[in-house]
Symmetry: C2
Subunit: 346 residues, 2 copies
DNA sequence: CCAGACGATGCAAGCGCTTACATTTGCGTC
DNA sequence: GACGCAAATGTAAGCGCTTGCATCGTCTGG
């Protein structure tokens, strides 16, 4: 009877309408939609026809309420403003799509507090499982996930010291490898433009890795200028300009990611500095931008797609109640461009 | 009684639990959450305390089901892979946020069929209103929106020939303006790298605008090589490489957007061509990338943020049942970089 | 020819919330 | 001190769907 008055015309059709039209019960219609093989071919055809004729689409809220699951996963990434997470997320989504799962994306602007809110929001919306970036977040966030028993996996970071399920690469290790290359080319006066480290373990580990490697080479941490700034091209540009006023002027600048490096590069050009003849610049992430700036960046290649796909699989397994294997460490290797060269002659 | 058995421990608390704990009825709790001023301060405090203690969060599905609205808007953009829509969407989201509305984003990969699916999905999820990009979409999509009576607005395009509510700029007009500048600099041998035009009115209007303007200058359409390709840096690069093998070789290449232009630029570098001395390249959109490539792109500045904010306001008005004004045309002006120069001496 | 089994379908009880309507309470008035 | 009104709160009817359980044929084997 619900929309029996749907003579009204622009009422949204409900299961009941479909059932009436097909001459079956709502239960049967529901089965047709969810478990088609539990219904005879004949009825199924009739029901499907009714569905089509009415333009019926199930009401998501009602379905979630009754079934207690939504076939929806959530992902909270720090930012959508640049393409850092785009490729990985794309792969994540593709993999979920294969399994009929919808992805809801939210962004936290690199703020653990905002992220907590987003977690809450996604849970409220019924996300069956969550993809999170990095390990840093409020205790409350973790408490929430545990209390609600929401399967989740951490990506973009593999940290041997963390026990929770994750898939990613070791930011520290990767940055050390890159730094080693820089040192090998003779650089000793090196500066770092890092992303904001608070609440961002990836940024922190990258910076720490660089400093550790330099320390190993006999460069004390106190000799290394570090500027911290929000990821963003113009921030990278500003930071670079500032850092190049130091004495001694660094011969190489390690950037926390490609976005910062791209900014640094454009500053260098404006300042009339040649890269890498006058100063070397490195990035991290190997996003598309790394290839199109001039010169192409020497950076760290991150297995974005592999990570996204892998994260999806882990989450899928978790949400089915399976216990997936341990955390997965992927490789992140130095990728040579042209922005890193030997130290300039004095 | 619902989770009276929640002795269980890890049950999700419901309104009823909160009500029991605060010693009031569920109705009162609901009011506390939705219309706090209709409840006495005393009870409100007690209820809120219970909410906090229990870590209660309303069940979205149930709420949507009962209230018949979700305070959720949807947006379907063609792609998240590059930053074309990022800034506008950000502004859109910020504006909605101010009004307590959550944004759900989906992407259609520039496919009208996929978009239709996404529209359906967002509607099923209860989106109260939708933001759409451009006018091109399947009849069914429009039928759906009308049938369900979903407020919606078209952005990124202002087309005087279209009657539906929109906010954006005139792609055709803007591209004509840019083309005029190119012609003014003496270029006569001009090629176009366009985005795929089918199902994409923005791409179509941009290409058409360029061709029209050239026609006005006496260059017949048949003399203008046009390559169509999916937006993407490497596609732009490939297209450019191909187009530069034409005879006569174009002295200027108009790209459908900055992403294609960035690709073209990197191809040019690889081919040893100087920009703009040997060949001029233009973009469209003025996204961040336009500034950081070498040389910075001459492009068309698009008022991303203004468009996003405006779209949000229109949609908010619509969803409140107000009738907003007519469609809004914003300006998109040529922005000079260094990638467009005079035609090279013969 | 009938008991038993099984596949297809219907019945109806919720899922957790909002909200119209009913009820109670507390005040100010005369 | 009784009355009326408004504010505060409670009652209960759904919102549209899923699903455990009951029912009904139909088919099979003895």
């Amino acid at each position: 009877m619900s929309s029996a008055q749907s003579e009204n015309g622009s009422q949204v059709p409900t299961l009941e309408d479909v059932a009436a039209r097909a001459g079956v019960s709502t239960a049967t219609v529901s089965r047709c939609l969810n478990t088609p093989d539990r219904v005879s071919t004949l009825t199924r055809d009739r029901v499907m026809a009714a569905v089509r004729e009415l333009g019926y689409a199930p009401n998501f809220g009602a379905r979630a309420l009754a079934a207690k699951r939504t076939n929806t996963f959530g992902a909270i990434i720090p930012t959508m403003e640049n393409a850092i997470f785009a490729r990985g997320l794309q792969a994540f989504q593709e993999e979920l799509g294969k399994h009929g799962i919808t992805l809801l994306v939210a962004s936290s602007s690199y703020s653990p507090e905002l992220e907590e809110e987003q977690i809450r929001a996604l849970i409220a919306r019924g996300a069956d499982a969550l993809l999170l970036i990095g390990h840093d977040r409020t205790d409350k966030s973790y408490a929430l996930l545990q209390q609600r028993n929401i399967p989740h996996v951490v990506a973009w970071a593999f940290d041997p010291s963390q026990s929770r399920l994750s898939i990613g690469f070791d930011n520290n290790k990767a940055m050390r490898a890159l730094t080693r290359e820089v040192l090998n080319l003779g650089h000793r006066s090196i500066a770092i433009i890092s992303g904001l480290r608070e609440g961002n373990d990836r940024a922190r580990e990258r910076a720490r890795g660089a400093l550790q490697e330099m320390a190993t080479a006999g460069i004390p941490e106190t000799d290394v200028p570090v500027i911290e700034t929000h990821y963003g091209i113009s921030n990278g540009a500003d930071a670079f300009r500032k850092i190049m006023q130091d004495t001694p002027r660094p011969t190489a600048v390690l950037c926390g990611n490609d976005v910062l490096a791209a900014g640094a590069l454009s500053s260098a050009r404006q300042m009339g500095l040649r890269v890498p003849e006058d100063v070397s610049i490195t990035g991290f992430d190997d996003i598309e931008i790394a290839d199109i700036v001039t010169p192409p960046l020497t950076t760290v290649h991150v297995p974005h797609r592999e990570m996204g796909r892998g994260a999806a699989r882990l989450l899928l397994a978790l949400s089915r109640g399976e216990i997936p294997g341990p955390s997965i460490e992927l490789d992140a290797k130095v990728k040579w461009g042209e922005s890193l060269g030997p130290v300039p002659e004095a």
